[in-house]
Symmetry: C3
Subunit: 349 residues, 3 copies
């Protein structure tokens, strides 16, 4: 349940300075690492702490290496992105301790005869797989999941317990869908006739690329006619709602509780803070960053950081400022009146 | 997998102008429709596009018909609400391609002996049905649903996979509950004694009318003593939370991520934009429309559109305006001081 | 299905004034209580209504007792916190009508041979219990729940249907987890390398104390390295999201749709209104109360009530005020200019 530092470098790269035969059992933060651990320095602010660390080995950037080397006595792995290296090393250590679920279909699962389940896939207890569905090699479908007819689960994609993945939707390779997520539920589409809503059938799909993570209890609507599309590398946290016919660009990340209304088109490499909301039919450019709790009510054509939430205050102070906000037009009118009066005073003509 | 235009008109009404024997396979948007499709014009802005459409048939309003007729060579169905007609026609086409789930109870389901499951209902794999529950004719209960004791599922109501429908709650006819929704969970009711919460049992029910749609992962609390009530025709999108003892008036629609706190009474024909929030014990009149992201913190007695969210800005601009908002009372005081000074200047008495 | 008033007082305490042999079948609000009910007065505002009540017995505070006694002819239970007494009495009556689920494991459940299920626990239909999991005496695990390997469910804790409780997480005694909740899903942790996200394994746990309630479809992330901690007596409503490595202090309560980002440390005896949001890595002191819909974007060191949401208005008025908010710095500049001009007028030197 550990490895040699040298083996790690052979797998993950980086330049090793020091003893390749040091044994490490895992990764720990700088403050907690001892002689059985590796640690990492991803923020130069903590250089002194890193130099004094008791870790067996340190992941460090070229810029910090000279400073750290002067004080640190263990091995160093020098690499340009220590945090990314840490993530990969942590994946390596986590895999050491993990027992991969055995391939095969649990006896309690109900799999339609026409479904194609790869012999290398794992289907857990009480799973249902609909007619014509395809579960590819290395996929893991945990207990209680429901896979609709003609759905496709890509290679090495992992559905945690109690996911619902509806008919005809598809996810690519190496994805993760966390528990309680619902992929491909009907979009919210109605015609109104005399106040009464008439349902518009939602016949599109959800098409999800490779390397996409979807959080617990997140919901993604199927398209009305065309498809809802989640591009490669998108990361969605828990309790996110994506409306029908949205497109989320590659490598965009959204924190928990974000909502995106229907037909919004969101660029690549964007980030959305928790509980940010996007109205429907908007277009958001690439590399747009929306702060938590902000409502996006118009399209954004230019990359950058955008924010819009009411600042928190002691309740008594908020009561005062909110009352003024309600009457800001009165305040504006007063200022205009003052300007007029002063104009008369200074320029009486 | 298609129909004659004439058959559609016989079923759905409207005035047919043109060849009743034209075959159409489905509905497509104006821009995509070809000779195998119907299309529809619901917004006069697109009259010219409709007139030039290659669709076999067009759904059109009396007001637009003369304009369209001058250019369009296919059949026309003239009707007062083309969008509602489109919804009904789309339902018709969707039903053509659909295989209704077979009546009967899947072998893996666990149904209490005292439950009454109509022979015309469908109970999917791994469903649990509690003692005394009633599942009416034509109801469809998909895989993994849990129906509590003495619950009632109305005729032709469809519960998608992994819905939890708790004890004694009821839903009427032709409803849809999407995956992951939880109906009849305990309301959030506690007494506080010295800082410690003591649970108040939640013994009411959730009573849901006919033609109600409930979105994926939406939660509706059972009443504390009296019932939580969802009236006929209400449409709730995904991830909505309805607190105990609320009443949602008929034909009200709520978009995703809306929250309604306990004992709120909401009128008929209201709409709520995504992530709108309603505090507890409020009353909202009929035909009130709340914009997305708005917090309703007082009762609303008058129909109309209401809004309250902080406008989005570039982060640097928001930093400036938010700092001013925090000190709006200081700004108000400055204006008052200016007014006073000017009064002294203009009226020195 | 009822009890003598005297028996209730023997169990729950309080000072009985009147006939101990009165039979009561349950509790009703003042306005609805008749001779078969108890009722309670927790707000002095309703003293007159209480005095005139037709209830068989009343729960009343010492301060209100003299007033009530003058008019009320039934029995009185005098106690310092009538609302807490009501909650306990309501629990007593609810338990009378309840059939406790039978101990034992449903035949359709899949329980790993190495799991330790106490013979006094109830495991419902289609439940999965992973290797090494421990389900203690009196625990109730309803239909469709999935319990991960090495998880621990404490004594008399109740998991409602379709809960997912992930590997190695623990909950103490007398807890309630409502349907659809997901405990111990991966936190949202990634390193970024050239725009692409690399997953950081989430190897911590969720550790939940005693007497904790967790609402329907609420999600709690497991820690990245250390644990996410929910202390004793915490009450979480529905659709709440708690990020990885958070700590929620004892007896803190959160209403529906609250979101707490990762590594936030929240004090004891706090309350959070619905849809309040807390950014990551913040610290919130004990006895802080956050209003509904407020975004907490900085640490709070001092107890008290805090608020921050944009006030609701008719849409036309909001359009006006929001436009001014967007340009508040222009308004501030105008005021400064006015001040300068006036300074010149009043002090021309």
């Amino acid at each position: 349940m550990g490895t040699r530092v040298g083996e790690l470098v052979e797998r993950l790269g980086g330049q090793l300075v020091g003893d390749a035969n040091l044994e490490v059992s895992g990764i720990a933060p700088l403050a907690e690492a001892d002689a059985s651990h590796m640690s990492f320095l991803s923020n130069s602010k903590f250089r002194a702490q890193a130099a004094a660390s008791g870790a067996a080995a340190l992941i460090v950037s070229p810029a910090d290496d000279a400073f750290v080397a002067a004080g640190f006595h263990g091995a160093r792995i020098v690499t340009h992105n220590p945090y990314a290296y840490f993530a990969r090393a942590a994946q390596f250590f986590a895999a050491l301790g993990e027992v991969a679920p055995a391939p095969g279909v649990d006896a309690s699962a109900v799999v339609a005869p026409s479904a194609l389940v790869d012999p290398g896939a794992h289907i857990g207890p009480h799973v249902s797989v609909g007619a014509g569905a395809v579960i590819k090699a290395g996929a893991v479908v945990d207990a209680g999941c429901v896979i609709g007819p003609d759905a496709v689960i890509g290679e090495h994609t992992h559905l945690f317990a109690n996911v619902t993945f509806h008919a005809r939707c598809q996810i690519g390779a190496r994805g993760i869908i966390h528990s309680g997520a619902v992929i491909g539920t009907d979009g919210f589409g109605f015609a109104n006739e005399g106040g009464v809503y008439i349902k518009i059938p939602q016949t599109g799909r959800v098409m999800i690329g490779d390397d996409v993570d979807i959080g617990a209890n997140t919901t993604i609507d199927r398209g009305a006619l065309a498809d809802t599309v989640i591009e490669d590398g998108v990361k969605l946290d828990n309790q996110i709602q994506i409306g029908h016919n949205c497109r989320i660009g590659a490598h965009t990340a959204m924190a928990g509780c974000v909502g995106v209304a229907g037909s919004a088109i969101i660029g690549k490499y964007c980030t959305f803070g928790g509980a940010a909301m996007v109205l429907g039919h908007l277009t958001i450019a690439d590399r747009v960053h929306i702060s938590s709790g902000s409502m996006v009510s118009r399209s954004i054509r230019e990359a950058g950081q955008y924010t819009g939430f009411y600042p928190l205050a002691k309740n008594a102070e908020w009561e005062k400022t909110a009352a003024i906000v309600r009457n800001l037009d009165a305040m504006r009118d007063k200022i205009r009146a003052l300007e007029k009066t002063i104009k008369t005073l200074t320029d009486p003509k």
